[in-house]
């Protein structure tokens, strides 16, 4: 299997890594600066092209209206979730559907250019992909990407869409805290309860993981998407303003004050007092800040992080004393008072051996290694961060899958009709902990087709399935006829497949035949993977197939091989479907055989005890 990379797609910085031949995770640095970090900044140039990374971050200072610095905050949102803080920084298209950020089109003053957050993220991912491809000297097509544990379905979908737009197949979305634990190799421990305290630039996240014999299980997660290192900087800015009586409120003064605050904060990690120069337009001023002042100005922020920790402990049914290891993630955890507070709450020294800026990317690389088949003895069991339910009579949310349920997870619900000859039932899927649907986050709507009958007679069972990435899919079955219905789900804030296809086409700026060539390459690659998987499954489980089934699979596989030699990508796609369908019974039997085998080896073990 070709190389799989691990990606930390962060709010402030992004990184890419891989698992080397010795099984050690490595970050791919910027080839010219050697920095492991790629600033998650994007800036649009007058010629319509984009700068990504450090150059974009620098350009954003002078061209804030054509740049985006923290797109992750907007992934999977709609215009109604954007608040006044966001509006002070960015402009948005005011229509429904997937959110679009407006950038100045500098080549035509007064006009704007609209981009969805997944498109912006895909530019960052492409840069990381290029970085990795340069280092390996081969194409990189597959990745594991980390997401905050609290990300809902829409936010996860948006992340996966960003991968697709960047030409990357996202094999797995891994929760960031889980990745951090993997980086520390804590999964190799016999049994331990681990707290991951992640304070980034703009977000805070705490998770409790139970590790046992190579298995990592998320017990609870919590956090605040509007609490991060930037809030601490802003408190220092307030302090400087008061002490030096600075009135100026313009963006330039603010930028200078923030830069000074960041410097002061860095000095304070080493020494008890910081003195910084601020080159204001009226002349350079000297400002001081002591650790004591910094601590008292930010005590409430620290307390908020601790509250989230206590709540997560409560959700997991654990107390602070039960925690065996505490891991610090995110640059903001370098602040001494954070370390002190965390140490006091959990009664133990937190781990900080690995750079808190790269630890998540290292963990993603370990998971990438696991998925490419390198490591067999580890397994992650993640949970769904928010309860999933449907809207029922009176706008009430009926929960189907509770928060913190281990994924994959499934729930079934039966639907019937209220009036005669009703042809469909509308279903509205939401995520959240509140009682009323209007207070929860809308994920998707869909219609279940129903045969015309008298009211109450039809019985349709809908299965809600959350996969190992925390992403929802829906299927329906008529309980009277046993017929499966396909259901088209309209995501509330996500991009539909058609929109993504169109974006891909547009983004390539390629002639028609180039795009067709690309579709052919993709279809052939997928066919090759499927043929390989099928061959292995058939050979490894020959006893599970009868002669007819075996012959059918062989025939379809040959058809597919023949089609790959031709140039029709649609025919290859069709035959992939056919071969997939033929393999379905075998796949089910392999699972059952696996279960049987496990239980048999158990009972042997029991007898010998």
């Amino acid at each position: 299997m070709p190389r799989v990379v691990g990606i930390d797609l962060g709010t402030t910085n992004s990184l890419v890594g891989f698992l080397d031949e010795d099984g050690r995770p490595q970050i791919v640095p910027d080839p010219s600066t050697e920095s492991p970090l790629l600033p998650s900044a994007v800036s649009r140039l007058p010629d319509g092209s984009f700068l990504v990374g450090e150059t974009a971050r620098r350009r954003a200072v002078l061209h804030p209206r054509s740049s985006i610095l923290s797109v992750k905050r907007f992934m999977g949102l709609g215009i109604e979730h954007v608040d006044s803080v966001d509006r002070a920084q960015y402009r948005f298209a005011e229509d429904a559907g997937p959110l679009r950020i407006l950038l100045d089109a500098e080549e035509a003053p007064g006009t704007t250019f609209a981009l969805t957050p997944p498109e912006v993220s895909s530019l960052i991912l492409r840069e990381l992909k290029r970085r990795a491809e340069q280092a390996f000297g081969e194409e990189v097509l597959r990745a594991v990407i980390t997401v905050p544990a609290y990300f809902n379905d829409s936010q996860r979908q948006a992340t996966r869409d960003a991968g697709r737009l960047a030409g990357i197949e996202v094999l797995r979305l891994v929760n960031e805290p889980t990745a951090a634990a993997l980086a520390y190799g804590l999964d190799k421990q016999e049994e331990a309860l681990v707290a991951v305290f992640d304070l980034g630039g703009g977000t805070f996240d705490v998770s409790l993981l139970q590790l046992r014999e190579g298995l990592s299980e998320v017990l609870a997660t919590g956090g605040d998407t509007r609490l991060g290192g930037d809030d601490f900087d802003r408190r220092i800015v307030d302090h400087f303003r008061e002490k030096l009586s600075i009135e100026g409120d313009d963006t330039e003064t603010f930028a200078l004050l923030v830069a000074a605050a960041e410097r002061a904060k860095r000095v304070l990690t080493e020494s008890p007092e910081a003195r910084v120069e601020i080159p204001l337009s009226g002349g350079t001023r000297i400002a001081t800040l002591s650790r004591g002042e910094f601590t008292s100005r930010t005590a409430d922020l620290v307390e908020r992080t601790l509250d989230h920790c206590r709540r997560a402990l409560g959700d997991a049914g654990k107390s602070a004393g039960d925690v065996d290891h505490v891991i610090l993630v995110g640059g903001a955890t370098r602040m001494p008072m954070i370390r002190e507070a965390v140490k006091k709450l959990f009664g133990r020294e937190p781990y900080a051996r690995i750079d808190p800026d790269v630890v998540v990317a290292l963990g993603a690389s370990v998971q990438a290694g696991i998925l490419s088949g390198g490591t067999k003895d580890m397994l992650l069991l993640d949970v769904v961060p928010l309860s999933l339910g449907i809207e029922t009579m009176g706008g009430v949310l009926t929960r189907l899958i509770d928060r913190n349920t281990t994924i994959p997870a499934a729930a079934r619900e039966q639907f019937t009709t209220a009036v005669d000859n009703q042809t469909h039932v509308e279903v509205h899927v939401l995520q959240g902990e509140r009682e009323l649907a209007k207070d929860c986050r809308s994920l998707a709507r869909f219609r279940i087709p129903i045969p015309r009958q008298i009211a109450g007679l039809p019985r349709v069972e809908v299965t809600f399935l959350i996969d190992a990435n925390g992403i929802l899919s829906v299927s329906a079955r008529d309980l009277r006829t046993n017929a499966e219905h396909s259901i088209e789900v309209k995501p509330s804030y996500g991009l539909t497949d058609e929109v993504i296809e169109r974006m891909l086409e547009e983004s390539f700026d390629l002639a028609e035949e180039d795009f067709t060539a690309r579709l052919l390459i993709e279809a052939r690659t997928e066919a090759e993977t499927l043929l390989h998987a099928t061959e292995r499954a058939v050979q490894g489980h020959a006893g599970l197939l009868d002669a007819d089934e075996r012959a059918a699979i062989d025939r379809y596989a040959n058809d597919l091989r023949a089609a790959c030699a031709e140039k029709d990508h649609n025919r290859i796609r069709d035959l992939i479907e056919v071969l997939n369908d033929a393999g379905r019974p075998l796949a089910e039997r392999i699972m059952n055989a696996s279960i049987k085998q496990a239980l048999e080896s158990k009972s042997v073990g029991e007898l010998s005890e």
Partner: protein, 189 residues
Amino acid sequence: MPSNADYLALLGFAGRPGIETDELQRRYYDLSRRLHPDRFQTGSAEEQRASVRASALLNDAFRTLKDVESRGRWWLERAGDSLGRENNQVPPRLAAEVFEVQEKLAELRAASGSEREALQSETRGILEALSSRLGDERAAVQSTLEEWPDASAEEEPLGEARSRLKQLLSEISYLRTLERDVRRALEES
């Protein structure tokens, strides 16, 4: 994925609801390792889908079985019975006790000054007694499940076991409500 799946059979405990949770956890982890989608990353799309479905069922089974109360409720339903709607009525064995507790809570709500303090500490005692009572009832559910007559048994012992389990579960459910009321009254006093 059947909606009435036999969770116990899936984990190799067919017909034996009195399972030990350590053994349950071991088997769950072992099966997870074999069925999880991570294991089928290089498999066909159908293998991946089948593994997601199988893992979802396994996770559901583990979640239901690991807690003795939810296991008891599930087992009762499999035996063709359930707590049903009458669950809101006070279980007979608890009637006198419930009456006393409610009386005490009414006094607490009405009281003030030093009298209230005395009642508060008395109510805290009630809360402790309730949680230890809950622990006993849960242990009784476990032993009822452990001693469950096997499928070949006469209808009579099966019926007895069923009604005993039902009684315990409805008492637990009632005690939980009572515990919540007591806690709320204490917080509000």
